[in-house]
Symmetry: C2
Subunit: 349 residues, 2 copies
DNA sequence: GTTAGCACTCAACAACCGCGAGTGCTAACA
DNA sequence: TGTTAGCACTCGCGGTTGTTGAGTGCTAAC
C-alpha cells in the first residue's frame, strides 16, 4: 500500500480529508462518515477511497471510532495537529477591535471591574466559558495614603499604589479629629510611607509608634488594613464569564457532567494553576487530557496573555468542548488581549 | 361518609397525614404511598385507612397523583397550607447567630461586598440558590467629597454619602495640581455640596462654573462621575449565590430545565420585579406558579427583608424546588436578615 | 490507484413483556 | 360507623427482543 509498502505517512490528501472531518465534526458534533466527506466536501473522490484514507488516519492515531458502524471523530492528536498548523500559519485574523473597545466602558476603573468586564466580553463573543486572571500582584509600592472623614467616628482609608490599584476601608477614629486633622495625618503618613512596599509600611507603622503624632489606635487600624490589602493584592484575581454556556453543547447534555464542570470552575485554585503555567507563548492551547483535569477531559483550554506593565502579565482564556472553533477563539483572544494591555498600560501611565 | 355525607373537610387526622406525606416527599422526592405512611410514620392506622384519607385529600386538592399506580405528591395547595401553618405558628427557630456572624468578616465594607457575601452565606447554609437584593437606593446625600492624587495627571474622586456608601473613580487633572491644591478643592467642594443630593450636586457643578476656583475640566469630570454614581446607586444591586445548587435536585436532572432556570437568573430584571413585591411582610413565600415565572414552575421562592435604615429595606431570598425544606430556610433567612440589618445599621451610625 | 459492490456490525429506536408498587372497591368486623 | 383485610386492577419501569440504517472493511473489477 501507498508508495510501496507498510510505511504510510501523512500526505496532503490525507491532511485535507482530516481537515474536512474536523471541520464537519466541530460544526455538527456527530461522527462523520466517508459518504459525508465525499459528498459535502467536494474531494472528487468516492466514499470508498475516503474510507481507505480514513482507515489509515485512524491507524495513524488521528481518528477515533466510537463504535464500528459509526463515523469517525477527530482524536486529540488530530486537534493538536490542526491547532499547531493554525498557529504556525500565524495569520490569526483580528476581530473587529472597535466592537471590543465598545464593550469596555471608557472610564478607568478598579482592576476587578476590568477583569470581570473582560470575562463578559470574551464569553459573549465566543459563546464559550471564559476566564480572566489578573497578574500575580507584584509588590506594590505605596504612592499615596489618605484618610477621608466618613462620620464623626470613622474614616475611609484610601491607598493608591504605583500599579494604579486603589483600595479602601473604613476605620474608626476618635471623635475629635476633623477633616483637617485627618488630612494632616494623611500628609505625614504619605511622606513617610510613599515608596515603601505594603509590607514595609505595615512594619513601619506597627513598630515605631509615637513617631507619628496621632493616636496609636488609628495607626494600628491602618497597619491592619495594609496587611489585608497586601494579602488581597498578592493573590491573583480570577473572573469567569459565560459559565452556563457549556450546556449549549451536546457533550454536556448530562447534568452530572455539567455539575462536575461547574464544580471545577468554582474551586478556583485548580484553574489558577492551569492559567499560571503559561510561559511566554502568545497562545497556549491545551486539548482534552492536556488540561490535566479529569472533568475537562473533553474540553480544550485556550489562553493568551496580556500585560499590565513591563514585567507583570495576566492571562485570559476560553474553555469549550475539544471540538472548539479554535480559529475564531484565537482571533478573539488575541484582540481582547491586546485591547486589555492597552487599557491597563494607559491607565497606569 | 365522614360526619354524615358528601361534605368533607380537613380534620386533624387528615392534616397529620398530609404533613407526613409532605415531610416524606421533601426528604425523598419520590411519590409516597399509603403503606409508607402507615409504617414509617406511626399513625396506628392501616394502609387501607390512610388510602381512604389520601383519596379525600386528593379530592380536596391537596394531593396529586402522577399516575394511577404511583403514590401521591403534595400539590402547591398543600405546600401553601403547610407554610401558612408554619408561619402562623410563628415559632421560627433561630439558626445559630454566632455561626452566621462568623461568616461575615468584621470590617465594614462596600455595600456590594456585603451583598455578595450574604448571598454566599445564605446558599451555603441552605444548599439552595440564594438572592440578595440591595434596597432601591434612596436619594443619597453627599457628606464628603475628596480628591486623592494618583499620578501627576490623575486623581481619585472619593465620595462619601450619608448612607455610608462610598464610590470612587479616577479623573484627569492638570499637572500643576499637587496634593495640597487638590485638598483645597476638596474642602471647597465638600463645603458647598455636603447635604446635597447627588443630582443637585451635579447640577450645581454643571451650572455655576467659575464659582469654584479651579479649572472647569475637573469640575466637569466630577459632575459626570456624580451622575454615574447616582445612576449606579439608584439601581438596585443583586447578588446570587449557589446558582448551581439546583442541579443537586432530581427535579432538575434535565439539562434543558437547568438551562432555563439559569437563564432566568441571568436576566436579573425578572428577579428584581419578583423581589421588589415584598410588602411589609416579614416573610414572603411564593410556591410554584405563584412566582409568575414559568421556569420556576416547580420552584418556591422564599424571601425576607432587612433594613438598611428606617425607610429603606432590601430583600434576601432563596429559590429551591417546591419540596423545599421551608422550616430551615425560614429560620436561616430570619437570622441572616437580622444579622444584615444589624451590620448595616451599625455601619451607618 | 480508484471505485462499485457486498457482507457484516452495531447503536438507536420501538415494541413488547413481566414485575411490583400502589390504588380503589367491597365486604367483613369491632 | 369507622377500620381493616383482601382482591382485582392499573400502569410506570427495567429488561429483552426485533428491526432499521448508517457506516465500515474487504474484494474484485476497472
Amino acid at each position: 500500500m501507498e508508495g510501496g509498502d507498510g510505511r504510510m505517512s501523512m500526505d496532503t490528501r490525507k491532511f485535507r480529508i482530516l481537515q474536512a472531518i474536523i471541520d464537519d465534526y466541530i460544526l455538527t458534533a456527530i461522527p462523520v462518515g466517508s459518504r459525508t466527506i465525499s459528498k459535502k466536501y467536494e474531494m472528487g473522490l468516492s466514499s470508498a477511497t475516503i474510507r481507505n484514507e480514513m482507515s489509515d488516519l485512524e491507524e495513524l492515531g488521528y481518528l477515533d471510532q466510537p463504535h464500528v458502524s459509526a463515523g469517525r471523530i477527530p482524536s486529540a492528536k488530530a486537534y493538536r495537529l490542526y491547532v499547531d498548523q493554525l498557529l504556525a500559519k500565524g495569520a490569526i485574523s483580528n476581530t473587529d477591535a472597535a466592537v471590543v473597545k465598545n464593550y469596555f466602558g471608557k472610564r478607568a476603573r478598579q482592576m476587578e471591574e476590568v477583569i470581570s468586564c473582560a470575562a463578559q466580553v470574551l464569553s459573549g463573543l465566543t459563546h464559550y466559558t471564559s476566564l480572566v486572571m489578573s497578574p500575580k500582584g507584584a509588590e506594590q509600592r505605596i504612592r499615596n495614603l489618605q484618610l477621608v472623614p466618613v462620620s464623626n467616628t470613622s474614616a475611609l482609608v484610601v491607598i493608591v499604589t504605583e500599579g494604579g490599584i486603589m483600595r479602601d476601608s473604613v476605620i474608626r477614629v476618635s471623635a475629635e479629629m476633623d477633616a483637617d486633622a485627618l488630612y494632616a495625618i494623611s500628609r505625614t503618613l504619605t511622606e513617610h510611607l510613599s515608596g515603601c512596599t505594603l509590607a514595609e509600611a505595615q512594619n513601619l507603622l506597627g513598630g515605631t509608634t509615637g513617631k507619628f503624632r496621632t493616636n496609636e489606635h488609628v495607626l494600628e487600624s491602618i497597619a491592619d488594613f495594609l496587611g489585608e490589602v497586601e494579602q488581597q493584592g498578592s493573590q491573583t484575581k480570577l473572573a469567569l464569564g459565560g459559565t452556563s454556556n457549556i450546556m449549549n453543547f451536546p457533550e454536556y447534555s448530562d447534568v452530572e457532567k455539567v455539575k462536575g464542570f461547574l464544580n471545577v470552575l468554582e474551586t478556583k485554585d485548580q484553574l489558577l494553576k492551569l492559567l499560571e503555567a503559561n510561559g511566554e507563548m502568545a497562545f497556549t492551547v491545551r486539548i482534552g487530557a492536556e488540561t490535566g483535569i479529569p472533568e475537562f477531559a473533553d474540553c480544550s483550554l485556550v489562553t493568551a496573555s496580556y500585560c499590565l506593565s513591563d514585567n507583570t502579565q495576566g492571562t485570559i482564556g476560553v474553555i469549550g468542548p475539544t471540538r472548539m472553533h479554535y480559529e475564531h477563539v484565537l482571533s478573539v483572544l488575541g484582540t481582547i488581549g491586546k485591547q486589555l494591555t492597552d487599557l491597563l498600560m494607559q491607565d497606569k501611565e
